[in-house]
């Protein structure tokens, strides 16, 4: 049984996970016993009381009050146990400790942005310390999204009109996957992020240095890194196929026909404007739903992206 349950659930990597999993196990075991009992009874009845002849006479048993009360009261006791157990776990899940490390999360179609107390931001990647409560204060730029980290057993919708919060305390270092679980359109299933759980020392060090951009990295390499890091890859391919937006392959210096009928050349200036004010000059045939990267990327990253796009010619 334990093996099956272990197979069914993701690894336990937060302080709340084991309590959630115990309740999951309890309901599965109790449910299985109940289910097996009912099915075995049916099987016995079907075999033992199968029709022997067309003239079978059956006894008249209309009801039995003791039985009715029994199978009303026992389930009520079971569900009260399950309810209070789930209630306790839920209280824990919705009460972040006061000393939690706070990270602001902004969801937009289709990326996750994380802002740290020291002013740095990351996109589609979040770095958190192990063994320390971390609280996400979340809002959405557009439609409803939902933040789900299976390894931590947490999930919370992210709303456009107010903040919602969730918290966790990771118990082991390493990477965990973060999904969007409220349907949000075309690239809903690509709206993933990676949670990097670091040891306290590594995290402190990352806060010092990790958010800085490596000034020595060649611009095009930085652009390639930004392309995945900032989530451009959710909508723009590198192989010429269309997804939500135009592919980056052979994009530079081509003529772009805009929705208003005018034509612009995709030069450095146009690419920069498209990153910072994506709704201003939308290429005809594509939806106008790219989020603005103003404030999300620094100057060197934008330069890097442009250099990266310029290199993509075959």
């Amino acid at each position: 049984m334990n093996r099956i349950i272990e197979y069914m659930l993701p690894p336990q990597r937060s302080t709340v996970a084991s309590d959630v999993d115990s309740l999951f196990t309890f309901i599965n075991v109790a449910g299985f016993i109940l289910f097996a009992g009912i099915m075995i009874t049916i099987l016995i009845f079907v075999i033992k009381y199968r029709r022997k002849s067309e003239d079978d006479v059956t006894p008249v048993i209309t009801h039995n009050s003791i039985l009715e009360v029994t199978w009303t009261v026992i389930p009520i006791i079971l569900i009260l146990i399950v309810f209070s157990w789930g209630f306790r776990g839920f209280l824990q899940l919705s009460s972040p400790p006061a000393n939690a490390y706070e990270i602001n999360v902004t969801a937009a179609s289709w990326l996750w942005e994380f802002s740290y107390p020291n002013g740095g931001t990351t996109v589609n990647e979040v770095f958190v310390p192990v063994d320390r409560p971390v609280k996400f204060i979340m809002r959405s730029d557009d439609v409803i999204h939902s933040l789900f980290i299976p390894d931590f057993r947490i999930k919370m919708d992210v709303l456009p009109n107010r903040y919602t919060t969730t918290w966790f305390q990771a118990t082991s270092t390493g990477e965990a996957i973060l999904y969007c679980t409220e349907y949000c359109g075309t690239a809903h299933s690509d709206m993933l992020a990676t949670v990097h759980v670091l040891s306290i020392e590594e995290f402190e060090e990352w806060l010092e240095t990790g958010l800085e951009i490596d000034e020595d990295m060649p611009l095009a390499d930085l652009g390639r890194q930004t392309y995945t890091g900032a989530g451009c890859n959710a909508c723009h391919t590198l192989d010429g196929t269309d997804r939500i937006g135009p592919s980056f392959l052979n994009l530079y210096n081509t003529e772009r026909e805009l929705v208003d009928g005018s034509v612009v050349i995709a030069d450095e200036d146009y690419l920069r404007r498209s990153i910072l004010e994506p709704q201003a000059e939308v290429t005809a045939g594509y939806p106008a739903n790219m989020p603005s990267y103003a404030g999300r990327l620094n100057e060197r990253q934008i330069d890097g992206l442009i250099a990266f796009i310029k290199e993509l010619q075959d």
Binding site: M39, P59, I61, F90, H188
Partner: protein, 568 residues
């Protein structure tokens, strides 16, 4: 017995014509005699044909989805098409298939027959409900060609306000379909109150009718809320009134409250009629009095009532207050109690019975297996802390398919086979019936059991791309769905065969005791050639069959004929 009163009825046994010449099927000829019929039986068949068509469409869409999910990235269709297809699969299956399925098709056909009435109370309203359904269906089809909606069948704001697809025409279709549902509900309630035959008191009503009664109450009370909700949504899109749009001060979570205030009770519109069919099947094929008649009858009403108080369990992580979540979780568990009571009573009915594993009974047993899993996994996701992990994952997808398909659809198939001889006058192949039931049962589990595992492991629903670790389970599920599709094709083949080549059905092939079997197969235009009189309960298998065929002797009738018994 008050023999001295003036309204003493003379009753006698009426024999059943085993070779009826005049039936409802040949009572009128031509397409108009069907499309504008006022006969509840023909309207039932119109509904049956319509829901079969939409079940086929929704099923094909489901197989497309499963095929796309064979690989973690794009397989056959792009992301936008996938999103439109899962939305249409849900919307068609819910609004065009499962809500009207049992009540409007089988209910329409058998509710008047089971109470010995000639028709429902308002035959014209009944016909209107089918036409309204057809108009709604046309709107839904129009919305598919004019930019199929991609919001999920739940139409959550603000996405549904912002998407460029045809939300307005689809929600308008839902709006229209709602009226069809309300009219059927009103008709059933009035018919059950006013048109029962002499002697048929509430305690002698077949449990299928109790379940339709409970369903009708929900249909009337809940459906208007859906109408208002989708109307507000359409106004939001067309006029920008700002009820749900946060940029204008609205609240998108308010939409979720409105939506689930209907759509949770609607789940019981879908499942409660199935309970009714199962009660009929288990008693008939165990040839035994139903155990706990009142427990089963009243638990339907209890479910209908509690079902109105639990909508918030769809929203534990939506941002509603924690206190609401706790209250909703607590109330949710209490739906489980009457549901459990039903299952225990059905099993107890089989005790010391004479169980015949005919096709309908096999479906009833399949229902008990699948629906019990559906119910127990419902307890799982009602638990607050576990729900946080499982919400919006494949666990939810698997749970509601076990309840809706393993429950309602399997019961519908059981009912379809049970009443097929009565509706068509033909028998189907028992051999192929049993084989197909087995194929559907096994392949259903192959399709949806892996989805419980995927969901627990964290696979979110409505995902076009997925991470590689889930591919094995997804492929297994897809193969199961293909076999499931094959099962339905097999069923279509032998049922169509039965229509043309099947042996003639006797009037009561299963030796059932309820009134629907006390007339010829297929029934005459007005169901009975006499006014039936009810002496015994619908499950009194210990009473002689002839006492179930009593009818009022008309004053003009020849008084020399023997009077079997007198009653008031």
């Amino acid at each position: 017995m008050a023999e001295s009163t003036a309204n003493t009825l003379k009753i006698r046994e009426f024999p059943i014509d085993e070779n009826p010449k005049h039936t409802y099927l040949n009572a009128g000829k031509g397409i108009k005699s069907w499309l504008f019929t006022l006969d509840h039986k023909r309207i039932g068949l119109l509904y049956l044909g319509s829901i079969t068509l939409f079940f086929f469409v929704g099923g094909v869409l489901a197989l497309l989805l499963r095929t796309e999910l064979l690989t973690p990235a794009q397989s056959i269709i792009d992301a936008d098409t996938y999103n439109q297809i899962f939305t249409l699969h849900g919307a068609i299956m819910i609004f065009l298939f499962i809500i009207p399925s049992i009540p409007a098709a089988l209910g329409n056909f058998f509710l008047p027959m089971m109470i010995g009435a000639k028709d429902v109370a308002f035959p014209r309203i009944n016909l209107a409900s089918w036409w309204i359904y057809i108009f709604g269906a046309l709107f839904a089809l129009y919305s598919i060609v004019s930019g199929a909606v991609d919001t999920g069948w739940t139409f959550y704001t603000p996405y549904s306000v912002q998407t460029e697809t045809a939300v307005v025409s689809m929600t308008f279709a839902v709006f229209i379909l709602g009226f069809s549902s309300i009219l059927t509900g009103i008709n059933f309630i009035v018919t059950l109150h006013k048109l029962r035959s002499p002697g048929l008191n509430w305690g002698k009503m077949p449990l299928f009718l109790w379940s339709l009664y409970a369903t009708a109450i929900i249909q009337i009370l809940a459906t208007p809320i859906l109408a208002i909700t989708v109307l507000l949504l359409a106004m939001e899109r067309i006029f920008g009134i700002g009820i749900f749009d946060p940029t204008m001060g609205g609240d998108p979570v308010l939409y979720q409250h409105f939506f689930w205030f209907y759509s949770h009770p609607a789940v019981y519109i879908m499942i409660v009629p199935a309970f009714g069919i199962i009660s009929e099947l288990i008693s008939t094929f165990s040839r035994k009095t139903i155990f706990g008649y009142w427990a089963i009858a009243l638990s339907s009403l209890a479910i209908a009532f509690i079902g109105f108080l639990v909508w918030g369990h769809h929203m534990f992580v939506s941002g509603q207050s924690e206190l609401s979540s706790v209250v909703f979780s607590f109330l949710t568990f209490f739906v489980g109690v009457p549901t459990g009571i039903k299952i225990f009573n059905w099993v107890a009915t089989m005790y010391k019975g004479s169980i015949d594993l005919k096709t309908p009974m096999l479906y009833a047993l399949a229902f008990l297996f699948l629906f019990t899993i559906g119910g127990l996994t419902g307890i799982m996701i009602g638990a607050l802390s576990v729900n946080v992990h499982l919400h919006d994952t494949y666990y939810i997808v698997a749970h509601f398919h076990y309840v809706m398909m393993g429950g309602t659809v399997i019961a519908l198939l059981g009912g379809l086979h049970y009443w097929w001889p009565k509706m068509t006058g033909r028998m189907y192949s028992e051999f192929w019936g049993r084989i197909t039931c087995g194929v559907i049962f096994v392949s259903f589990n192959m399709t949806f059991l892996p989805q419980f595992i995927m969901g627990s492991q964290g696979m979110p629903r409505r995902y076009f791309n997925y991470v590689d670790q889930f591919q094995g389970l997804h492929q297994f599920s897809t193969i199961g769905s293909y076999i499931l599709g094959l099962g339905f094709v097999m069923m279509a083949v032998y049922l169509v065969w039965s229509l043309f080549k099947g042996p003639k059905a006797p009037s009561n092939p299963w030796k059932a005791r309820s009134l629907d079997w006390m007339t010829s197969s297929p029934p005459p235009h007005h169901n009975f050639e006499y006014t039936p009189v009810i002496l015994h309960g619908p499950y009194d298998h210990h009473k002689p069959m002839r006492e179930f065929r009593m009818g009022v002797v008309r004053e003009a009738a020849d008084h020399s004929k023997p009077v079997a018994r007198e009653t008031t």
